[in-house]
Amino acid sequence: MKKNRNIFTAILKNLFMASISLVILIPVVMIVINSFKDKRQSSSMGMELPKVWHFENYATVIEKAKLMQSFLNSIEYSVFAVIISVLLAALAAFVLSRNRTKLNRLLYYIIIMGIAMPINFVALMKVMQSLQIINTRIGIILLYAAIQIPFSVFLIYAFVGGLPVELDEASILDGCNPLQLFGLVILPLLKPVVITVFILNFLNTWNEFILPLYYMNDSQSWPITLSVYSFFGRYSSDWHLVCADIVLICIPVVAVYLLGQKYIISGMTAGAVKG
């Protein structure tokens, strides 16, 4: 009797999870299928397969949406912002974690306060004007780097705490200066957490579109998110092209997700659970 009930609940659980996964997957499949249809068939956005597979939709959308330019922009912004944020955050986390004076503790708390703090976009415009980096590529890169710093410092700080201090002492005795100690000894040991932070920051920057919405007027320097948004505005009746556009913007993200799933989940759940 009890065994029967167990089998019953097991079947129920499996069915439940399968239907939940289906709910997540259907929209994704719908976009991929419709990206290969022609305009008429895609206007109903159904789940049936394309009558004729239109692979040329992708070429059309790359040309019409000027996708190459915004794709390169996104790469440029993400790569530079991620490198800057990871490097600066690692340096800061290293010093603040190793040397926990009263001042350093306060600095650490002020930095990770940024995990909660919202950005004041209006006043930020003023600051960027006075620094003369508004509407510039370097401005948006620095901005992207700045907003990643709190969470990056938080993750790396915890990791540095787990590295033995004896390493530092030995390296100093061997004649390292602080920067060499960081670059030659600590940074290589930080590899796991740095990969995590690198991936998370890349995904965040790639997906972000509020900051350029506020601060980038020139469509030539738009990242891919914003160009998809404006493409949708102009071609909202051409769902086959919009779908192709969406697939293209998601490919890098999904690829990174599939390759780095372990790092992403460990990073995004870190700090949340401490045994």
């Binding site: 939940i20 600066l88 040397n99 995990i115 909660a116 004041n120 602080p178 997906n207």
Partner: protein
């Protein structure tokens, strides 16, 4: 050895300067600007006292309604994501067919751009051609078909639905980690005392999971109060202003050149978040408490 020499504070300066200049300082000087009449229409800036805040809290304007919407969004997304995330986690922490597949699929929406998610659901919710209504029609549930994002009655719920679709998997992952950290001996002990599965959930799982639940609640709250992207893409506050939340309103005032009002609303949020942030820091740095 002298710690200040081995770990000189100047190495942290890069991060501090960048973060300070582009994150912290705008937040602080924004509070100052919220007491002025700053706008794109005039070059002169005048001190006007509490006028902007009076506008926000006045019953004649709709700002209080936007704040109410923000709180409503936060409340429902926190509740739904927590309940669903926990349910998924409890099932997927045990052995089940295709467990890793389910986990990967459920987490996936959290890495997609909110913009993309928004556009996709704009299509799904389309009253004439959308997948949701055609699905309901094809299984004979015509009466359930709605003008999801267009109808003021269903618009807000639809946005919440999309956000839960996107965010529940992330919460699930945190919950799984939390569940795994509960030692088996507690369950064995409860089992010996003769508890059924509901009782062991109530008396073992929930109390042991409390810290995790606190963290997920705070994370969801932070996200909910700051929500912008998904509302902006799905309805942009419409129909009318029914789904307007705080940050879509901040953006609207900003793009209309009403900078002072916009920064006043941001500053309100800033103060609230700093207070919430204080508690988060307390929670996230629990390791320091024992020192």
């Amino acid at each position: 050895m002298n710690k200040n020499k081995i770990y000189p504070v100047y190495l942290a300066m890069g991060a501090l300067i960048l973060y300070g200049a582009l994150y912290l300082i705008p937040g602080v000087i924004g509070i100052g600007y919220s007491f002025t009449d700053w706008s794109s229409y005039s070059k002169k800036l005048n001190f006007v006292g509490l006028v902007n805040f009076e506008k926000i809290f006045s019953a004649d304007n709709e700002y209080l309604f936007y704040i109410y919407n923000t709180l409503k969004f936060t409340f429902f997304t926190v509740t739904l994501k927590t309940v669903l995330g926990l349910a998924f986690a409890i099932i997927l922490v045990k052995q089940i067919f295709a467990r890793n597949f389910h986990r990967a699929v459920l987490f996936m929406p959290s890495v997609l751009s909110l913009l993309v998610t928004g556009l996709v659901f704009k299509s799904i919710f389309n009253p004439e051609t959308g997948l949701l209504n055609s699905l309901l029609n094809s299984i004979g549930l015509d009466y359930m078909a709605q003008k999801w994002l267009v109808d003021p009655v269903t618009a807000f719920g639809s946005i919440i639905g999309v956000d839960v679709w996107r965010g529940a998997g992330y919460i699930m992952c945190i919950m799984i980690a939390g569940l795994q950290s509960i030692p088996d001996v507690y369950y064995e002990a409860a089992n010996i005392d003769g508890t059924n599965s509901l009782q062991s959930f109530w008396y073992v799982t929930l109390p042991m999971l409390l810290p995790t639940l606190m963290v997920t609640t705070v994370l969801n709250m932070l996200y909910g109060l700051k929500v912008f992207d998904i509302v902006f893409v799905l309805t942009n506050g419409g129909p009318g202003r029914v789904t307007e939340v705080l940050y879509t309103s901040v953006f609207r005032e900003f793009s209309q050149g009403k900078y002072a009002l916009s920064t006043a609303m941001s500053s309100l949020m800033f103060v609230v978040m700093v207070v919430v942030g204080y508690f988060i820091i307390r929670m996230m740095s629990r390791e320091d408490v024992s020192e």
